[in-house]
């Protein structure tokens, strides 16, 4: 004991364990004010025709330039036709405005004839423009999709689009951390879409407000990148601006060899950094939700908020049983809009339309899952159904695999890529009173067309509904 001496200085404190979100945030702080407001650097900026015209106009008025055209990519997707027909004047002007803006400001652009053109949240990952550890923004709330790669990705308004174009930064305060863990393996017939609908059903549409949600647990790790994108995509429907999934071998395998992924030595360097991104073991989350994969059945929404999600085996709920006054009123309004009676079995609800596509479920794996159910079957005579690939490359791949023929033979329309009937800005929309089983992300009133009634489902469930002519349980088809 004679050798023991007092340390001259206290031992250094072990570094504070950090979440994935905190690691990405810390790595992007350019400036921090005393009140915690930060200037955050943006690594990738995705631009589309609907939320950018006023931003470019703002730059022009102020005589400003785009700071990093090389970190920016533009594409028209929201308002583009999915048939060979002409666009209406307003839509055409909007696309032409994007074209003249990208030319004037030198922003890379996938034009209307480019086979790589597609939904902005499909093409980013497809091109390797979405990478782990990045900050990614876009004037679109479903930018949360890119969180599947362990990138901090969130939607912004047009003023912020202009701010990013001019400065490559945003003024932000850090979000709170929420961890949603789904343990165990998913049962047969249950997909990423059912998982996220079940999560939103539990959290509620505002449950994630102020948070970034990190999805974890075995069921999440076992998802493909496409499935992870579906989960992160709908984070905003729970109010969370961003969703995150820790990058792992599945992520790296997906990215290896993509056109804009790092190559050679840069790939090795990147991989070393990406492997250090996952949340530290003792990282502290402000909130936690745990689910068991085995408790999640195929899901469907019955109302006009994504939180109105139920197992397909359930019945239309009764507002009298709502958990609080707010929900009671909202449920009653939803049921009136949706034309549904409490107690009706969901599998007895007839449908008129089916939409397969969107940034939620318009990727190749989604189309494969849908085609598997459609193969050798026929769309009910009372149903009009369409498949809209998420990008030109998804479309080409599906055609290479013969999925288009399966859909067409089953009675689906096979369309050109774009956002289409997810938001119904182009000519694709449902008519008043029509009911649609849709793989998109929002069932708001009027979302798919004035008076249209939307039921959110997975791609396989959408096909099951198309064939049966009612909402249906995909497990009866397997």
């Amino acid at each position: 004991m004679a050798f023991r001496k007092k340390a001259a200085t206290p031992p250094p404190e072990p570094p504070k364990p950090r979440t994935l979100f905190e690691k990405i945030w810390d790595a992007h702080v350019v400036d921090r004010q005393d009140d915690g407001t930060c200037v955050i650097y943006v690594d990738r900026h995705l631009v589309h025709e609907v939320t950018s015209p006023q931003a470019f106009e703002g730059l022009r008025m102020a005589g400003r330039k785009v700071r990093r055209p090389d970190a920016t990519i533009a594409v028209a997707d929201h308002n583009t036709p999915t048939t060979a027909g002409a666009m209406d004047d307003e839509s055409r002007i909007q696309v032409e405005t994007l074209e003249s803006n990208v030319a004037e400001f030198g922003v890379p652009y996938f034009d209307m004839t480019d086979p790589r053109r597609g939904i902005v949240h499909v093409i980013g990952p497809e091109q390797g423009l979405t990478l782990p550890g990045m900050t990614i923004v876009c004037g679109d709330s479903h930018t949360s999709t890119h969180g599947a790669f362990g990138a901090l990705a969130f939607g912004i308004g047009t003023s912020e689009v202009e701010h990013v174009l001019a400065t490559q930064t945003l003024i932000q305060k850090p979000a709170k951390n929420m961890r949603v863990a789904v343990e165990g393996s998913l049962p047969i017939g249950v997909t990423a879409k059912d998982v996220i609908l079940a999560i939103i059903g539990r959290l509620g549409t505002a449950g994630g407000t102020g948070y970034v949600i990190e999805y974890a647990g075995r069921a999440i790790r076992e998802l493909t990148m496409e499935g992870r994108m579906t989960v992160c995509n709908m984070s905003i429907e729970a109010g969370a601006r961003a969703g995150l999934i820790a990058p792992d071998e599945t992520t790296f395998k997906y990215l290896d060899g993509r056109p804009s992924s790092p190559k050679g030595g840069a790939w090795d360097l990147a991989l070393g950094q990406w492997r250090r991104l996952p949340s530290d073991k003792n990282a502290v989350f402000d909130s936690q939700l745990d689910l068991l994969a085995s408790d999640i059945p195929p899901m469907v929404t019955w109302g006009t908020s994504p939180q109105d999600a139920l197992p397909i085996t359930d019945v239309v709920p009764d507002p009298a049983n709502a958990p609080d006054e707010n929900r009671r009123e909202a449920w009653a309004r939803s049921l009136a809009y949706m034309g549904l009676t409490p107690g009706t079995r969901l599998v007895d609800v007839p449908i008129d339309r089916v939409f397969i596509g969107s940034c939620t479920n318009g990727r190749i794996e989604d189309l494969r899952a849908a085609a598997e159910i459609a193969r050798g079957r026929k769309v009910a005579s009372t149903v009009s159904a369409m498949v809209v690939p998420g990008s030109g490359l998804v479309k080409a791949e599906a055609e290479k695999e013969g999925l288009d023929k399966i859909f067409i033979e089953a009675g689906f329309e096979w369309r050109l890529q774009g956002c289409s009937m997810c938001l119904a800005m182009n000519a694709d929309r449902i008519e008043p009173g029509q009911r649609c089983a849709s793989t998109s992300n929002r069932n708001f009133e009027g979302r798919q067309g004035r008076g249209g009634r939307t039921h959110l489902v997975s791609p396989a469930m959408a096909v099951a509904a198309a064939i049966r002519g009612t909402l249906a349980d995909v497990r009866d088809f397997q």
Binding site: D31, M134, F154, G155, A266
Partner: protein, 204 residues
Amino acid sequence: MEKFTTLRGVAAPLPMVNVDTDMIIPKQFLKTIKRTGLKEGLFYEMRWTADGQKKDFVLDQPAYQSAKILVAGPNFGCGSSREHAPWALLDFGIRCIISEDFADIFYNNCFKNGILPIRMPKEIIAKLMDDASRGSNAVIEIDLEKQEIKGPDGGTVHFEIDAFRKKCLMEGLDDIGLTLEKKSSIDDFETRQKDSQPWLHAAS
């Protein structure tokens, strides 16, 4: 951006929960390349029937046609990032929205357009909703400097707001201009990042 210091005006009640941005401004109005003239689309489907007849929406009732304040149900502005929603509200004349809570993107978008979103507890919202339902007598005053709402009966309540956002609203600041003052920090950040993560700066 127009400065926001004090506001005195009629408050309109909109007690619905989860008013989403598709309700505030439906998609057909997003085809514009301008940010003005959007009041035509404000709450369009709640204001007009499918065959073009006016419904009796609160903002069309005589007492509320010049409303400057909206007292709204919780989770106001959920859904899409469309800034057309605050643009449409502003174009109508709404400069302040009071709710239990707001969706993040919408909340943020308000500040960029000189609109003050105020979060208030449920009990206060209930009181303000009651005040607002008294029609054109429901004049409410907002003092941003003091962070106070004065109801028609003269009673005041304090509200919280982020100091930086308050300053930007009160001075009508262009935050791009503010950020550009930090250009050298951005330059330094990029230099460091190019060194540590060169793949983020390769030509895409």
